[in-house]
């Protein structure tokens, strides 16, 4: 980051103005609602808080939510990278249509996609009936949750990776080839490290989105306690029973875990992008 010096006259003025705005805006939009979460959860007291967040049903939901979000983000990172590569590197008829299709999960109301997926993957749906004889239960299972999360997360990876791949100079690959590197070596040693920061950003966004996803998951998951109940659903259930403190406590724990995970991904990203910094 560039140090602020006294020679700022030539640049656009307004640091004071923009930092003031930034702090005020973020406080109102982000910090204030989050502090309410703390206030509510504090009503339980330490012992009560611990009791709520360690209930077996809640712990199972945590494991499911984080596990499914992680798996979906991982799958999206791999296949999103392939899609982004294909869209950036090749021109083919219908490329723009494929490119537009990537955004569809953004545009659909999540409940609509949830219902669509549930119909498709239910034992009588188009895909579900093919999977059923194989003994694979797609809808109303953990697999179904992962499918929904993959669906809603894919645009994040593709859209963050595209600009990074567009910036990648094709002569870099030619240089690697003329130095004797195989395609796999070029991919692993040259291309991946260069796009790693964007790949991690895409993963993080897809992961964060998957963690908080509710609408599409509830239709396909079946919502069985201990089995296919995700954290957001559990929170809704608590709210419906007017258990606001418990809901806040569960939400707060989730928030804490998310922050830890996002921070560690940020750290990885910082390490991956060290070549971009000047000393």
């Amino acid at each position: 980051m560039r140090k602020r010096t006294s020679h700022t006259a030539a640049r656009l003025p307004g640091f004071t103005l923009t930092i003031g705005f930034t702090i005020a805006y973020l406080s109102a939009v982000v910090l204030l609602p989050l502090s309410m979460l703390f206030m509510r959860a504090a009503g339980l007291g330490p012992a009560g808080f611990w009791e709520v967040v360690t209930t077996p049903r809640v712990v199972a939901a945590y494991k499911l939510s984080f596990g499914a979000a992680f798996a979906a983000a991982g799958i999206n990172t791999i296949f999103g990278a392939v899609i982004a590569w294909c869209l950036v590197r090749y021109s083919f008829p219908g490329r723009r249509i494929v490119d537009a299709m990537v955004d569809l999960p953004f545009a659909l109301p999540t409940a609509v996609s949830g219902i669509a997926l549930a119909t498709l993957y239910s034992p009588h749906g188009w895909i579900g009936q093919l999977l059923a004889p194989l003994g694979v239960k797609a809808a109303y299972s953990r697999l179904g949750i992962a499918i929904a999360l993959v669906f809603i997360g894919i645009p994040f990876v593709v859209r963050t990776l595209q600009p990074a791949l567009e910036d990648l100079d094709p002569t870099i690959e030619e240089a690697a080839a003329s130095l004797g590197a195989s395609r796999a070596q070029t991919l692993r040693r040259v291309i991946l490290p260069m796009v790693m920061p964007s790949l991690l950003t895409g993963f993080t966004l897809a992961f964060a989105r998957a963690l908080g996803e509710y609408g599409s998951v509830v239709f396909i998951s079946g919502n069985m306690p201990m089995k296919t109940e995700i954290v957001p659903l559990l929170i809704i259930a608590q709210l419906e029973q007017y258990q606001y403190e418990a809901a806040a406590a569960i939400g707060l724990t989730m928030l804490g875990c998310s922050i830890l995970i996002l921070l560690s991904i940020n750290f990885l990203q910082w390490r991956a992008s060290r070549f971009g910094r000047t000393q």
């Binding site: 100079d169 002569t171 870099i172 030619e174 240089a175 690697a176 080839a177 003329s178 130095l179 004797g180 590197a181 195989s182 070596q185 040693r189 040259v190 490290p193 260069m194 070549f275 971009g276 000047t278 000393q279």
Partner: protein
Amino acid sequence: MSIEVHHVSKHFGTYTALHDVCLTVPTGQLVALLGPSGSGKTTLLRIIAGLEPADPAPHPEGAIYFHSRDVAGINARDRQVGFVFQHYALFRHMTVFENIAFGLRVRRRRDRPSRSEIRSRVQELLELVQLEGLAQRFPNQLSGGQRQRVALARALAGEPKVLLLDEPFGALDAKVRKELRTWLRNLQKDLHVTTLFVTHDQDEALEVADQIVVMNHGRIEQIGTPDQVFHHPASEFVMRFLGDVNTFHGRVNRGTVQFSSLELPFPHERQQIAGEARVFVRPYDVTIDTKSNGLPCLEARVVRIHSAGPLVRVELVTSTQQHLISEISQERFATMQLEPESRVFVRPRHIRVFASEPEVQNPPTAEATTHSAN
């Protein structure tokens, strides 16, 4: 290792980038591919490197040989060619050290040198390109000239028998470019590696290369030493490309050539030209006198004088409204006391005549030296 290119063509869609090109680069030589942009020189270099396929056998003998080994079916990875890109193409996530070591580290296990061997080899190359202290820097912490030297060291790491450079100094400023090309020339002579480099800068090619290959529109116009291509251009294009030139429309007729108001003797021996012709005179072959000395000459008026430089450049307009440029020495300029609007007498000391039939592929050429005026 020599490079031989036999009848190679390349089309991009309907565009002909290379048209039946034949070329031999002898072992250990430094050869320049010189031409304007779009002349196919970079395409030829990339085909030799294996980065681009040539058109599939347009000619039964179409092939590329490295020391009489056909490399057509061998991809870039296995050609063992060092390639230096115009914009360096360094791996920006690797340090200078890692960049240079890359080619050694990606080798198959049985060919791969040990860690300590790689370390000493990289150290050796860093010394060679005079970047000893910069091993741990990243490319974006280096200047353009330093980056290009890293790229060169990286290309040389695997001890390639062939070094190919694509406009290696094109992105550098003029002073660095001059230093680097002299340095590259010395390095190439020390390493004795067969080197082919692409440039559009005729000074660079003339100064550095053993042989120059002049290209235009996907064809080779002339191959020769810098002296040959400069003093004995094979075509009008080569004449024009290698420096400023004055052009006249003229006629060749029975041992003489007529242009402007001049009629000069024209040697008979290689008399393949008759009729319409174009006459070329280099600016330094245009002599200026303030008095007529009886020899055939053109009357002209001085329009402009540029005296900053090793030679004085005088812009002239003849009595027949032909624009001319003459370059004379500073001493001669001082003794003549030329000024704009001075009336002078101009003589071409050395002319070169090409038949003005643009469609002919190898226009017959001939030279004539009018007997010297000074």
